[in-house]
Symmetry: C2
Subunit: 97 residues, 2 copies
């Protein structure tokens, strides 16, 4: 299992759109993410800073599988323009579980 | 179960100390955290920005129990001065699991 974390910034004025989009993330899309080997996603906001935490069997493989999926393509076309493209990966330095 | 997430900044020059301290987080202290009802902690860094993610039965209760614990007091005295005190809570807006 891989753990990945990223920060990014939302574009000005897109915060409510971003939250609304995620509130309507469909159960079909959830199923596709799980089928792609994604076990957990958490997204947090602080102002326009977005923090995303992902647990996946193989993150790159999951990304590649979802990139081929028309449902996820529609989703990415919707939310992609709400974010700045400069996702920055974080380094995990501590884990308790 | 509660999920909490925070960001904070490390003080200048304390990043390596902070990582080193967490590498030596003892198994005794892990047991105390679990006994206090903390199920999961993840800490990530991006430069001097620290992101912490916690899952606990009751976060406030866990904090209160650990504040009474001499082992955690020693730990907090060690790492507390490495961080700026302005922890900022994040808002969870999406969850897949």
């Amino acid at each position: 299992m891989e753990t990945k974390a990223f920060v990014a910034r939302l574009r000005p004025g897109r915060k409510e759109d971003y939250i609304e989009a995620h509130n309507s993330f469909s159960s079909d899309l959830r199923a596709r993410y799980r089928d792609a080997g994604i076990h957990q996603i958490r997204i947090f906001l602080l102002g326009d800073q977005l923090f995303m935490y992902v647990e996946a069997d193989d993150y790159e493989k999951a990304q590649a599988a979802l990139a081929e999926d028309p449902l996820d393509q529609i989703w990415q076309e919707r939310v992609g323009p709400m974010k700045n493209p400069d996702f920055q990966p974080l380094t995990e330095i501590f884990r308790l579980d």
